[in-house]
């Protein structure tokens, strides 16, 4: 029922031409205040706190906000409870665009709806802000719970569902200065999930992380891949200046272990954060800061990966990259829920290319756990170097057309 209401509301918003993501694309100050407001709404039910924050943050920029906000100001003046209710509804709609469910039935529905369209699903349980061992254990337990429940709903290996995990969330005391111990703890904690994944035929991707955890992540992956083969899969962020070196290490590992190594090549999830952190630490900026450099590096890593017999999957929203990967031995295309639908339904699926959607989920009643992910998505997509900022709205249709035309021009397809 709730899902139907959400879908219905989204359709009305689409018809009205209202896209919440668009609100974040304009004025930086407005975007920042909206993000702060979203965070507050996500973490509290106290109507008075919500009203105070709403008026404190948004009243100074009232004139720059979309018209729909005037209704909220009106509600707020009438009743703080009404305003809080409306904002919570709004937050759930916004979160629902990116987050694929918050309990088993809703997650299963999402998987089935993708599967019905011939699309695979990669599930990521959000909630990686982990400070205690209880939270870290729960993070892994949730994965075990989710993936052990899926077969009961008839979702099995044939659905080709995979998981994305963040190893930093598997150990609250993870310490880059002490990698060996951290690797040991994390491997032990992941063990039951890998046993489960192997039993039911799911795969597990080691998701993109901040740079400081990269070495630990690689070592954990190395151990799990050695033991569980290609059930363990890796994510490489091509915005790092030295990501080709990582491709090299993975290729050597493939030879050593003698089993396929699957790599999802993404641009990277913490582009701004890596730059801020490096500046604070006085270190060289580890990421390419010019978009075209990242693009070149993406292409270089992809080709090198294919050349070295890695199973390369593209994980980007950039039509040029997707096309490049398809032309150069791609083993699959992964897209983000809430962003990649036009590519999938407009170009890839009709042409018979394998597509997988990265679907974040939560296992709590509220979507609060997903707030970090949502904010990063907003930040990623509204920055000056962002692809989506450039290909938003009508321009997106152009990008889909480019992709479609590009696919038709692929030589081996023509030949076929």
């Amino acid at each position: 029922m709730a899902r139907r209401r959400r879908t219905h509301t989204m359709k009305i918003l689409d018809w009205l031409g209202v896209d919440p993501m668009g609100w974040f694309l304009g004025d930086k100050d407005v975007a920042s205040r909206l993000i702060q407001m979203t965070m507050i709404v996500s973490q509290t039910n106290d109507p008075d706190d919500i009203k105070k924050a709403f008026f404190g943050l948004l009243e100074p920029v009232k004139d720059k906000l979309p018209r729909i906000f005037s209704l909220l100001f009106l509600s707020g003046k009438m009743s703080s409870a009404l305003l809080a209710y409306e904002l919570h509804i709004g937050f759930r709609i916004f979160a629902g665009r990116f987050i694929g469910g918050n309990d088993m039935p809703s997650i299963v529905r999402t998987i089935r709806s993708y599967h019905a369209k011939g699309i695979k699903v990669n599930l990521d349980i959000l909630g990686d802000a982990v400070f205690s061992e209880k939270e870290a254990q729960k993070y892994i337990d949730d994965y075990c719970l989710l993936f052990s429940e899926l077969p009961k709903y008839g979702i099995n290996a044939s659905h080709d569902v995979s998981a994305s995990i963040k190893i930093s969330a598997a150990y609250s005391q993870i310490d880059p200065s002490n990698p060996d111990y951290s690797v040991g703890v994390i491997c032990n904690r992941l063990e039951p999930f890998f046993v489960l994944a192997q039993k039911f035929g799911f795969n597990i991707y080691f998701d993109a992380l901040e740079r400081e955890y990269r070495e630990i992540q690689f070592r954990v992956f190395e151990r799990m891949h050695k033991k569980y083969g290609d059930t363990a899969r890796f994510v490489v962020q091509s915005y790092f200046k030295d990501s080709l070196g990582m491709i090299d290490r993975l290729a050597e590992m493939r030879v050593r272990h003698g089993s396929p190594v699957w790599v999802r090549l993404v641009l990277g999830a913490y582009h701004s954060f890596e730059q801020y952190t490096a500046r604070i630490r006085g270190q060289d900026i580890p990421v390419w800061t010019v978009k075209e450099d990242t693009n070149r590096n993406f292409r270089a890593c992809f080709s090198e990966g294919v050349r070295r017999s890695l199973c390369m999957v593209s994980g980007t929203q950039n039509a040029d990259h997707i096309l490049y990967a398809l032309k150069n031995g791609s083993s699959g295309t992964q897209l983000l829920r809430g962003m990649g639908e036009p590519y999938a339904f407009g170009a890839l699926v009709p042409q018979g290319f394998p597509v997988c959607f990265y679907v974040p989920v939560v296992l709590t009643k509220s979507f609060a756990q997903g707030i970090g992910f949502l904010i990063r998505r907003v930040d990623d997509n509204t920055g000056p170097e962002s692809f989506l900022a450039r290909y938003f709205g009508r321009k997106m249709k152009g990008a889909v057309r480019t992709l479609k035309e590009g696919i038709e021009e692929i030589e081996w397809r023509k030949a076929a």
Binding site: N45, E133, S172, P176, S177, N178, E212, E215, R281
Partner: protein, 554 residues
């Protein structure tokens, strides 16, 4: 209001994501073990480059393995102090002449020594880090951070020393007079330094003083005398004149003798508020009783003393950010930082969903810390022991006193580790009266006091009741930020006000670290003003007018 921009590039932090760095750390630990670990020959007192091996010695134990002897250090005697002060006095007089006769050569020599010292610190950091970690029980990451801080201090003062000695001509439009303001070194410095940052804070005082032309009489904390020895040895290897640095390890009596000695001009002291006040009195009384015996005159005291640091959290704050900041501000280095959090004010009732969510996550996070040795063992732990048996007893006694009033919200029991080292797990109290001495006195350990208050105004009033070095707020409300900064500014106790970040981890040249009020003399470390402590400004005024005629032969 005009805001001036200051630019300083910090030493890059160690990149632990680089496997080559991890390999270097391993090698450094091995080298430390073979060269330093358990050397039983006591490290000597050093005066004028001469080693004195005659006195008594003290044993220095590893706080995280309390029965393991790390090394031995000779204890300086009153005679040593007398001799060292005289050597420093003579060196200073000689240096002053050089300063006046060939200023450029004089300054260049000093800069080269500090540059060389920084080079050596960089080269030897993989040995220095485990030494610090073992001697004062600090995480390796923390020790590397301290080394980077020491380098920052050195680089900063190198960048400022030219400006320090700039001579200023005043009223050059008056042709009958030449008026000059000339900075001149003041005299020997006593550096009585603390154990919690044994390298960086010692090097800060020594480096600034040396660059300003003042010899240093260095008394490290008795708990960190090995790091102190390493530093002095390194400075001598860097080419520091042997009569410009003395190494005088020992206890309170050595500090007292240095403070009262006629030849010392200023005292850089880092330690407790109680001792800081005693030093102030002792230095003033000593000079007042016999002023003509003191060639440098009144002594200047630069103290970084104790504090009771507050943090305020309002309900608009992002909980993830707050939890992280509380865990770091309170338990990083087990609360053994003068900027560590002691009092947490939450502007909400204890029953409010925000308080419940925050407290449950803070308690969960604090319960998850893992304790052990920072260097040796299966894991290199980030949470370690308190410094010694005395600190252990003092903190435990305070916890027991608080318990008589109310049971703690959290007390992580590490009693099974007490046999090995002075480990105390995180403790959180709520409901201890704010005006009780149990809350008022600085704890310098892993104990947090929480207060739920009705309003931000009340939180600010309570925060301002006790001296503090740092303070902070977490809020996303612009009005609350403004109210807080105004309240803390006008409260007159906060030396460093943070907004939406942890209240520890000040970085030289970036954050304005320098306590005021009861917590310190207000000099900000790594700022141009800091070096002025070590100089006098002398005015020279020459008249060219005689008999109504101008005789100007410049």
């Amino acid at each position: 209001m005009m805001i001036q921009n200051e630019y300083f590039r910090n030493e890059p932090q160690e990149d632990f994501s680089d496997p080559h760095i991890i390999a270097k750390i391993e090698q450094g630990i091995k080298a430390f073990e073979s060269k330093w670990f358990g050397v039983m020959k006591p490290r000597p007192v050093i005066i004028g480059g001469d080693e004195d091996n005659t006195g008594d010695y003290m044993d220095i134990y590893d706080p995280a393995r309390r029965f393991r002897l790390l090394g031995r250090v000779r204890i300086a005697t009153p005679d040593n102090v007398e001799k060292a002060c005289l050597v420093a006095h003579r060196a200073f007089q000689k240096s002053l002449e050089f300063f006046w006769d060939d200023f450029d050569g004089w300054l260049l020599g000093r800069k080269r020594v500090i540059q060389k010292a920084l080079e050596l610190i960089r080269e030897e950091r993989y040995i220095i880090a485990p030494l610090i970690s073992c001697e004062v029980s600090k995480s390796l990451k923390g020790s590397f951070g301290e080394i980077e801080e020491a380098i920052d201090f050195g680089e900063y003062y190198l960048s400022q020393v030219d400006a320090l000695f700039e001579r200023v001509r005043t009223r050059s439009d008056i042709e009958t007079e030449k008026n000059m303001r000339i900075p001149v070194p003041r005299g020997p410095t006593v550096a009585i330094k603390v154990w919690n940052f044994p390298l960086s804070l010692s090097f800060e005082s020594i480096g600034a003083s040396y660059l300003a032309g003042c010899p240093v009489l260095f008394k490290p904390a008795e708990q960190s005398s090995l790091v102190g020895y390493y530093l002095v040895d390194l400075l001598l290897r860097a080419g520091m004149e042997s009569d410009f640095i003395s190494y005088l390890p020992g206890y309170g009596d050595i500090g007292e003798a240095l403070v009262k000695n006629p030849y010392t001009a200023h005292i850089c002291f880092t330690g407790s508020m109680e001792v800081g006040h005693k030093i102030n009195v002792a230095a003033a009384v000593a000079v007042a009783e016999n002023p003509y015996a003191y060639p440098c005159g009144t002594k200047r005291i630069e103290g970084e003393l104790g504090a009771n640091n507050p943090m305020i959290v309002t309900r608009s704050a992002n909980i993830d950010d707050v939890v992280k900041a509380i865990l770091v501000s309170k338990w990083n280095q087990e609360g053994r930082k003068c900027s560590a959090l002691q009092r947490l004010f939450i502007v909400a009732s204890p029953e409010h969903e925000f308080s419940k969510a925050l407290m449950s996550r803070v308690i969960g996070g604090a319960s998850s810390f893992e304790y052990g040795h920072p260097v040796f063992g299966k894991k290199r732990y980030s949470n370690n022991a308190v410094i010694d048996g005395e600190a252990f007893k003092r903190i435990k006694d305070r916890i027991n006193e608080c318990r008589k009033i109310k049971e703690p919200l959290l007390e992580v029991d590490l009693s099974d580790m007490e046999e090995d080292g002075y480990f105390i797990g995180p403790v959180i109290f709520e409901g201890i009266p704010h005006d009780s001495s149990l809350v008022r006195e600085e704890i310098f350990g892993p104990v947090l006091f929480i207060f739920f208050v009705d309003s931000l105004e009340e939180a600010i009033r309570m925060a301002n009741m006790y001296p503090h070095i740092t303070t902070g707020i977490f809020t996303q409300d612009a009005k609350e930020k403004g109210q807080f900064i105004r309240g803390m500014m006008t409260g007159g106790k906060s030396g460093l006000i943070y907004v939406n970040r942890e209240i520890v981890g000040a970085v030289a040249g970036q954050h304005q670290f320098g306590p005021i009020n009861q917590s310190g003399s207000g000099y900000k470390l790594a700022t141009p003003n800091r070096m002025r402590l070590f100089v006098n400004e002398v005015g020279v005024s020459e008249n060219f007018l005689s008999q109504g005629v101008l005789f100007k032969n410049e």
